[in-house]
Amino acid sequence: MVKKGVDQSDLFGTASAEDGRYIYTVSDITRDIQGILENTFAAVWVEGEISNYRPSASGHYYFSLKDESALLAAVIFKGASRNIKFNFEDGLKVICFGNVEVYPPHGKYQLIVEKIEPKGIGSLQLALEQLKTKLDKEGLFAQEHKRLIPHLPSRVGIVTSLQGAAIKDILKVLDRRFKDLHIIINSVKVQGEGAREEIAQAIEDFNFWNESAAPDERVDVLIVGRGGGSVEDLWAFNEEIVCRAIYNSKIPVISAVGHERDVTLSDLVADLRAATPSVAAEIVIPKKEDLRVRVEELTDDLRRSLFEIAAGYSETVEDLSHRLRVGLDHAVALESGKLAMVAKKLLLLSPLALVQRYEDKISQAARAIIVRMEHVYTLRCAQFAKQIEKLTGLSPLNILARGYSITFLRQTNGIMKDAGLLKPGDVIESRLHKGTVVSTVTEVSCDGRDKV
């Protein structure tokens, strides 16, 4: 075809000639160009930068490859675009393999890309970096989101292949260690077509199971992983759908992918990364010996605590009884003090003392009375003497001596001072200075003169 296109001598015979000029029709020249281009560039590598990328609804990628001075239209048809792992975007420097194709109706040519890889870095590596950046921005690796792996889980869910090495390693650890564990396996494809969907679905299934299961049937922790393999074999664990399933899992997830050196995005999203499936098993399945030691420690603690509590109470009892004793002694001392005081008071209040006191008082009083009496007696004697003296002066007897007489009514023995009180016949007695005269009244005169 190329030869045909450039061999003008051959063409002259078939193409229309006018004025010695060879004139192509548009279709002819396009066909020739097509022939030349498509034959020359049937299998080529082209390096350039992706620009003007337009994915179509049907799954084809339309874009241009460009460098400083040229532009090449390119397309990746659906069948090939499916295999692209990395994020296709403008500005990415890539190396494409494919063929040049001319589209006559538009008079355009473009590179039909069969393979494309990022320049300088492997395609998978780039995809990983791109997804990592994206998920990191969204916070899928954030430490705050990491949940605690339960200590001593009762039920462990495992997402891996029943035919794989991982489950064997896990069961081996189980046999070596404390077997009191319920393991529920959700067997999935761990590599190849459909693996990522199955892994993601299995994680979701476990979460769904937990929502409807009774509390003692719920899975406490998930181990998601597989045994070792090539980067491609492990790739499902770098897939976005798997990362999101792990991130969205309400059950804490331990990732256990491949060997120590293999770090997948699942490892970054998971709540805990175990270097291998065996390590994951060791994390969730405790050593019998450790548990035995723990039980012993707790039992010792139990005994010690009880002893301490008992000792504490015993101390309290001792303290209380001591205080009781001291308190009692004190009370007794206090009371005896009081008693002594009361006794003293009582002694003071004793009737003997009172008697004594009254005796004293009485004798005092008696003495006082005697003194007083003596005094009064003396005084009275003196007064009496005086009176006697006075009386001696006033005595009617003395008056009688001077010639007067006193008349008594014999009947009443009353002294008569009023003649009116006498009537004739009354016997009167008149006392003279010496002797007495008895008379009978014959006449009474009230003018002051008696009629005897």
């Binding site: 001593l152 489950i167 009191d180 393991i183 396996i185 476990f206 707790l298 139990l302 009880l306 509590i309």
Partner: protein
């Protein structure tokens, strides 16, 4: 009580030790807890001696509901 899971018994035992260590229990309560703790300790030891593993698989039945089925251990250990 015989069927108590090891980890449940251990958790209870830890709780009892915590309670006792806080030391604000009456002597009667403390003795009761101690008694319970010693029983749990015995159960833990018994479980450690005679633990059994149980392996099942999570599958979807015809209706699409999830269920767990026992797995032939030989298959998984081959």
């Amino acid at each position: 009580m015989a069927e108590i899971k090891f980890e449940e018994a251990l958790k209870k035992l830890e709780k009892i030790v915590d309670d006792l260590e806080r030391g604000d229990l009456s002597l009667d309560e403390a003795l009761k807890k101690y008694q319970e703790g010693i029983e749990l300790s015995g159960q833990c030891s018994a479980r450690l001696a005679g633990a059994k593993k149980k392996i099942e698989i999570l599958v979807k039945n015809n209706k699409g509901d999830l269920e767990v089925k026992p797995v032939d251990e030989k298959v998984s250990e081959e």
